[in-house]
Symmetry: C2
Subunit: 768 residues, 2 copies
C-alpha cells in the first residue's frame, strides 16, 4: 500500500512530477461522462511511459482470439474496447522543439482531479533544453451536460522567452491499441476536413464499421484578449492539425481554448456525423469555456446531492469513497440501455471494456439506490435483450430446449473471452444475473418486470441449471461437476458450493415467480407459447434438484466447503505468506496457486453475502472465520463482501480494513496494477461496504432495515438512498442515527430492529 | 474407419486419384531416413489442398507463445518443427502450362509406398487442358545408406504431344509453416549458387541460426540415352531453379534424375555446408540411381531382418504392423543421441516435432528390443543431458533443492508448450522418465547406467515428487492436488491414481538404487557432492510418502479411482454414445468432455500396464472391466495398452480389436486426423501390442517370459527381439511356439510359465 496522492476530501492531488507514477496517475486522473472517457494523458504529448486512452462508449473490435490449442466451443473473437482518436493534442513548440516533460526540467508540477466540479487541472513550470521557461496551466473536462462535448483551456506563460511559440492543435486517429492480439490497427479513415479554426476527422473501425467523427474548434487569447490567427493546416492519413504561431514576450500568457466533439454512429446516422459535430462545436463555442465550466459544476453538484457520502473524522476514507462514486458516475450514467459497465470503465484497455457479472453482483445496488429504478431496469433489460444469444451460447456448448448460458464477458451478448476455465466453467455468472432480477424486485417492488423480461431470463437460466447437473449414484444427490467458482484461483472443481447454492436458489425462485404470474392468462399463454414452457413436466426435475443438490460441508460443522475435497489442501493462512511473495499472482506459478488453499475473492462468502438471511449468525461467523484468513483479496471484488460480513458479525476493525482496501484500492494501489486502469466495478463494492456494511442496510421481503455501526476513528458519516420512491438521508454519529426523508410519501423501515414510520420530509433520530 | 488403401503385405497402395484424400495420403506416403523426412507432396506441385512438408532432423524454431491470458511460469516459446526447403520440385511445362493434377484429367493414378525397399513410386496419365497427354512415372527415396542424400527419378512420356517440354527443376526455400503462430516465415537466405546442372541454396533459421544447405544435381535421359542440356537458371530470394527444354515427339520418354543433398549445420561447420553438399552430390551421381536403389533395398532388408513382424492369415494386420515399423525406422535410427522421436515424426507439423513422454512410455521398448541397447541408452542419455534444464524448470515453478520437472514438450530440454493444464499439471511425465531407467535396466541388465546418469535423473525426479505432495489432515495421508493425468479429458484433478502410484514407485525405486550403489565410495562421494544429496535426512520423508500416499479406490472393490471424486460422474459407457458424435473431441465442447466420464486414453490402465506384476489378476480384470468401456481411445497412445491388458486377461477379441486400432490407426484414419501427419510414437505401441500383448512377452526381475496367444483368424505370426545380447525369433502358430536363437550365448527364458534354456543358434518348440 502506497499513500502517494495528497489526502483531500474533494480532490485527488499530485504534487511534484513523478515519471515512475506516470501510468498509474494517468489512470487515477481519468475523466469520463458516460458517453466518452479518457486517461489523463498530457495535452502536449509525452515521450516517457504512457498509455494513450480515449474511449467512446459502445465501440469495440472483435479481435481474433489468441489461444494455444483451440478447444471446441471457443468463441470466435475476443472483444476489445477501442482506443479512439486522441483529441487532446495541444503541443507548444519553441525553437522547433516541442514541449515534452520527459525532456524538460519540471518544477511546481501539480495535478488535481476536482471531483466536486468534474475537472482535471494540471500546472507546472518547464525549463526546456534551450533554457526557455514556460508556465503551463491546463484545465479540461468532459461535459456532463452535453455529453458529446469536451473542452480544454491550455495556458502557456513565458517566464523568460521572447519570440514565436508555435502550437500544434491536433486530432490524431493513427493510434494503437496496446491490447491488440496481432499488433493490428483498428481504425480506417472515412473523411477529414480542416478549416482555419475547425477540423473534423471521421474514422471507422475495421470489421464492425462503427464510425466516430472527432472535431475541434480552436480559439486563442493573449494576455486576456482574443488573438486572431491564421493557422497552417496539416493533414495526413487519420490526422488533422492546426498549426498556429503566437509571438511572445516575457510574462506574456497565451491561452488555447480547444472545444471538442466526439460523435458516434451509435447515436447518429453515419452520413450526419460531421454535421452533428459542427453543431456541437458551435453550441460549445457559443457558451464559451466559463459557462460550460459553470454547467459542469452544476451538473456534478446535482449528482453529488444524491450520490455523496460524507465521512467526518477520516479524510482518507472520505476521499476514497468520493473517488469511487465519482468514477462510477463518470463511467455509466444509466441513460442508454445499450451500455453497461466495463471493469476498467474508460480508464484502460484490460478486460476489453466488456460486461462481466460485476454489473449484476456489484454495480446494480449502487445505481439502483442512487440513480433510481429506471437505471437499474436498463441494466436488467441489457441482459433481457441478450437472452437469445445466451440461448445460442448454451446450444453451442451442448445444451438445448431454451437453456441459457450468459457469457462471462460480452459486448453484444456473445461470449468473447477465450480461456476455457472461465468461458466454459465460470457459469456462476448465470446465478448473479438471476439474482439481480430478484434483487431489483425486492428493492423496487416492481413485480411487473417479471412479465416484461425477468421471467424469461429466469426460465432460461433455470433450464440451464437443470441440464447442467446430474444425479450421482455415489452421492445419492445431484452434483455439478467441472466448474470454476468466483474464486478464480481454482479451476475445474466439482460442486462449488456457491454455484450449487445459487443454482438451487434460482430454480426455487423461478418456481415462485411462475406461480405469481400464471394467473394472468393472457401473459401466461403468450409466455408458455414463446418459451415452449413444459409446465410441471419441466419443473418436476427442478423440484428434485432443489431438494437434493449436493452442498459440500465440513463434517460436524456449519462450514460449507468451497468445493469437494477442499479440506485436502494445505490449510495455511494468508498471514503466513512471505510479504515478498504477495500478490501471489505476481509471484507464484499458476499450478501452485491452483492447488494452494488461498482464495482470490469471496466465494462461499459471496453466497453468504447474497443470501445472508438464509443463514443463522453462527453459520455466517463460522464460515467467515474459516475463509477470511485464507483469502488474499487479489480480486478487487473481494474486500467489499468481507467488509459487509465483518460489520454484520461485529468485527468492526476487519470491516474498516476491508472497506479501506476496497475504497482506496486504486488510490493506494494495493494490488500493484493501477497503471492498467482503475477497478471501476469494484468501486460499487465500496459503496456497498459503506451502506450495507457500516450502515447495515438490508432489504428482506421488501422491508428496508438499518443497523448502523460507526467505524473507529470516524466522527460520523452520511449517505443517501432512494428507496421505493422515497429519498432518504442517513446520518450516523457517535450518539445517534438520523434518518431524514427528502420526499413526499411515508416509508416503513426498521432501525436497530425496531419498526418506524418515516413521514414525508421528516427526520427520525434513534440513539445508538 | 475407412479402408481406403489397397491391402498388401509389403506396400501401401493407392489406386486412382482422389483429391479428397490428398492431405491424408501425403501423410501416409511420407518418407524419412532419420536425418530428414518428407510428406508425399507431388514433384510437379499441386494447386489443390496440400501441406508441404520437408523436415531436417533437429531443426526447430522457438515461436512466440500464443496465449489469451499469460500465467506465471509459462514458457517463453513454443517450439515448432520447421518446414525446410522444398527440394522435390520437378515441373513439366507444356505450351507454358505447368502440369498440375488439380487442373488435368488424371487417369491410371497409382501410388505405392514400397516398405520392403523404402521407396515411393507414383504413376499416372494426365491430360492437360490443351489435350496434351503425358504419362508420368516418379520414384524417389531418402537414402538409408547416405542419410544426407535423396534421389528422384521422374519420367515423362509423351502420349500424343510433339514439341518442346520444359522442366523446372527447383529448390524452393520460400516456404511457409502452417503451424506458425504469427504467420511469420522462419528462414533467411545465406547463399546460393547455380551452375548448369548443379544448384545450392543455403538458408538459416531466424533466432537460432540453424543452417541447411540444400543442393541438387540434374541428369537427363531421353529414350534411354543421356540427354545433354544447357539449362537456364532462375535465382530469386530463397529459390534456385534449372530450366531445361527437351524436344519431344509422341512416345518419347524423358527421365529427369534429381540427386539431392540436405546438409545441416547440426552435423557440419557452417562454412563447410556447400562443400559437403557438393561431395554428397558427387558421391550420389557417381553411384547413379540404380546403384543407390540397390543400396536402399539392402539397407532396408537389413533392418527388416531384425525388425520385421510376419503375420500370416490377416493381410490387413500384416500391412498395419509393417507400416508402423517402417515409419518408426524412417523417423529415428538411434544413431544420434541429440535426436528423439516427435509424435508426428517427419510427417506433419502438429505437436511441433518435439519430444513428449511418448518416447519413454511407448517408443523405448521397440527401439531397445529391435535396435538394441545402445540406441535405448541414447534415448536415456537425451534426458540425462537435459537434467539441469529440468531442475531449472522446476525452480521456475517454485520447487527447490535439485527437484527436477522434465518438460512435457521439448526440443532442447526447456519446456515449450503453453497450456497450463498440460505444462504445469501433466507431471506424470516425470514418472515415465523414471520408469524408463528401470525398464532399460530390467531389460538390459546394464546397472552401470545408474552411475552414468540414471541415478541423478531418479534423484531429481524423486525430489520433485517429495516436494509436490503434502500431508492432508483430512485424509491422514499424503495427497497430490492439481494434476492432469494421462487422460487429458480431465484437467486439474486431485490424486490422479496413476500419477500418485508412479510417484510412490519412483521414490521406492530410487531408494533401492541408492542402496545398490552406495558401496562404491568414489562414485558415492562424487554423487552426493554433486547433487548435495542429504542422505537419510532427505529420504526419511520419501519413506513416509511411500507408506502413506493416497490411492483413491472404490469402496469394497479392487478398482482404483482415476482421481478423487471420479464416481460422481455420470457413469455411462462409450457404447452408448451416438456414433455421429464421435470422436467426441471433434463434436463436444471442452467443458462437456471434461465433466464426462469418457476417457481419452489409458490412465489407471496405463499404471496397470507398467506395473502389471504388482497386481493380482482379479485387480487387473476389475479395473479393465471398469475403465475399458469408458475409454474412447481418442489418443493414439491408448489402444495398445488396452490390447496388452486384454490379451493378458484372455479377452482375445478385444485384444485384436485394439491391436488393429493401433496398428491401422492412420491407414484407416480412426480419429479422422491423418491429414495432419501420422501418429509415429503410437506406432511403437502397435509393436508393444503384438509382442507384449499377443506374444505375452514380459521381463520380471530381469527374466524374460513369453505367454503367446494367436488372434482369431491368424495362421501365425513371428517377431524378433534382441534380449541381453541374444537375438531370438518367436514364431507362434496354431499348434506351437517356436523360439529360435540367432546368436551365440545361452538364454534362460520362460514359456507358458515353464523355464527353458535356449542354446546358441538353437530352437525350442513348445506346444500351445
Amino acid at each position: 500500500m502506497k499513500q502517494y496522492y495528497t489526502t483531500d476530501a474533494w480532490s485527488i492531488i499530485e504534487e511534484g512530477f513523478n515519471p515512475d507514477m506516470a501510468l498509474s496517475s494517468e489512470s487515477i486522473f481519468s475523466l469520463g461522462n458516460g458517453r466518452m472517457g479518457q486517461r489523463a494523458n498530457f495535452e502536449e504529448g509525452y515521450s516517457g511511459k504512457t498509455l494513450l486512452g480515449n474511449y467512446v462508449a459502445g465501440i469495440y473490435y472483435p479481435d481474433k482470439t489468441r489461444v494455444g490449442w483451440w478447444k471446441n466451443g471457443y468463441p470466435e473473437y475476443f472483444a476489445k474496447v477501442l482506443n479512439a482518436a486522441n483529441w487532446i493534442g495541444i503541443s507548444p513548440i519553441v525553437n522547433d522543439a516541442p514541449l515534452d516533460l520527459a525532456e524538460a526540467k519540471v518544477s511546481d508540477f501539480r495535478r488535481e482531479l476536482n471531483m466536486k466540479e468534474g475537472t482535471l487541472h494540471r500546472s507546472f513550470i518547464a525549463e526546456m533544453k534551450d533554457g526557455t521557461k514556460l508556465r503551463v496551466d491546463a484545465k479540461r473536462f468532459l461535459s456532463m451536460t452535453d455529453d458529446e462535448s469536451a473542452v480544454i483551456r491550455y495556458s502557456v506563460k513565458s517566464l523568460n522567452y521572447t519570440g514565436d511559440i508555435k502550437f500544434r492543435v491536433s486530432i490524431d486517429g493513427d493510434i494503437i491499441n496496446q491490447d491488440s492480439n496481432y499488433d493490428e490497427k483498428f481504425w480506417d479513415e472515412v473523411a477529414k476536413e480542416v478549416g482555419n479554426d475547425e477540423a473534423y476527422l471521421t474514422l471507422k473501425t475495421k470489421k464492425l464499421d462503427f464510425q466516430v467523427c472527432t472535431a475541434q474548434k480552436v480559439a486563442v487569447t493573449k494576455n486576456g484578449s482574443k488573438h486572431a490567427f491564421d493557422s497552417d493546416k496539416t493533414e495526413r492519413e487519420k490526422y488533422v492539425e492546426h498549426h498556429l504561431t503566437v509571438p511572445m514576450s516575457q510574462d506574456d500568457e497565451v491561452v488555447i481554448y480547444k472545444f471538442v466533439a466526439n460523435i458516434s454512429s451509435e447515436n447518429h446516422p453515419k452520413d450526419g456525423l460531421m454535421k452533428r459535430a459542427a453543431e456541437v462545436l458551435q453550441h460549445s463555442v457559443s457558451k464559451g469555456f466559463e459557462t460550460m465550466l459553470e454547467e459542469q459544476r452544476k451538473a456534478w453538484a446535482k449528482r453529488w446531492e444524491m450520490n455523496d457520502i460524507e465521512i467526518k473524522g477520516d479524510v482518507a476514507a472520505q476521499q476514497g469513497i468520493r473517488f469511487n462514486i465519482f468514477q462510477l458516475n463518470q463511467t455509466y450514467t444509466g441513460e442508454d440501455a445499450r451500455l453497461n459497465i466495463g471493469p476498467k470503465g474508460f480508464t484502460g484497455e484490460k478486460y476489453g471494456g466488456s460486461t462481466y457479472w460485476d454489473t449484476e453482483a456489484y454495480c446494480l445496488p449502487f445505481y439502483m439506490l442512487t440513480a433510481g429504478k429506471e437505471v437499474a431496469r436498463n441494466l436488467l433489460l441489457y441482459r433481457y435483450r441478450h437472452l437469445p444469444k445466451a440461448i445460442e451460447n448454451a446450444e453451442k456448448l451442448g445444451f438445448k430446449d431454451g437453456a441459457a448460458l450468459y457469457p462471462m464477458v460480452t459486448m453484444n451478448g456473445e461470449e468473447c473471452h477465450n480461456e476455457w476455465e472461465i468461458t466454459f466453467e465460470e457459469i456462476h455468472r448465470n446465478g448473479a444475473i438471476a439474482y439481480a432480477v430478484y434483487n431489483y424486485i425486492n428493492h423496487t417492488g416492481d413485480e411487473a418486470y417479471l412479465k416484461e423480461g425477468g421471467l424469461e431470463v429466469l426460465l432460461g437460466i433455470s433450464r440451464f441449471w437443470s441440464q447442467r447437473v446430474h444425479w450421482s449414484e455415489e452421492k445419492k444427490a445431484f452434483v455439478m461437476l467441472g466448474v470454476t467458482g468466483p474464486n478464480e484461483y481454482e479451476n475445474n472443481v466439482n460442486n462449488n458450493w456457491y454455484t450449487n447454492y445459487i443454482a438451487k436458489w434460482t430454480l426455487r425462485y423461478t418456481l415462485e415467480c411462475l406461480e405469481k404470474v400464471k394467473g394472468d392468462a393472457s401473459f401466461w399463454n403468450a409466455f408458455t407459447a414463446k418459451t415452449r414452457f413444459g409446465g410441471a413436466d419441466e419443473t418436476k426435475r427442478w423440484e428434485a434438484i432443489v431438494a437434493d443438490l449436493h452442498e459440500p460441508r465440513m463434517k460436524d460443522s456449519k462450514v460449507y466447503l468451497q468445493q469437494d475435497g477442499f479440506l485436502d489442501k494445505d490449510l495455511r493462512s494468508a498471514a503466513d505468506l512471505d510479504p515478498a511473495e504477495r500478490p501471489i499472482n505476481q509471484h507464484w506459478s499458476w499450478d501452485r496457486i491452483l492447488r494452494s488453499v488461498f482464495i482470490k475473492q469471496a466465494d462461499v462468502l459471496q453466497g453468504m453475502y447474497f443470501f445472508e438471511d438464509h443463514f443463522d449468525e453462527e453459520t455466517l461467523r463460522d464460515n467467515f472465520d474459516f475463509y477470511e484468513p485464507k483469502t488474499v483479496h487479489e480480486s478487487s471484488l473481494s474486500p467489499c463482501v468481507h467488509s459487509v460480513l465483518a460489520a454484520k458479525l461485529g468485527k468492526d476493525e476487519k470491516a474498516l480494513e476491508m472497506y479501506l482496501r476496497t475504497a482506496r484500492l486504486d488510490l493506494d494501489d494495493y494490488n500493484n496494477e493501477a497503471d492498467e486502469g482503475l477497478h471501476i466495478t469494484s468501486m460499487a463494492g465500496s459503496w456497498i461496504a459503506l451502506v450495507e456494511g457500516f450502515g447495515g442496510k438490508r432489504v428482506v421481503d421488501g422491508v428496508l432495515s438499518l443497523d448502523p455501526m460507526l467505524p473507529k476513528g470516524w466522527e460520523s458519516y452520511r449517505f443517501n438512498m432512494v428507496y421505493r420512491g422515497v429519498v432518504i438521508s442517513v446520518e450516523v454519529t457517535r450518539d445517534e442515527v438520523k434518518t431524514a426523508s427528502r420526499s413526499e410519501g411515508e416509508l416503513e423501515l426498521i432501525i436497530y430492529g425496531k419498526p418506524y414510520t418515516l413521514g414525508a420530509m421528516k427526520t427520525i433520530s434513534v440513539s445508538r
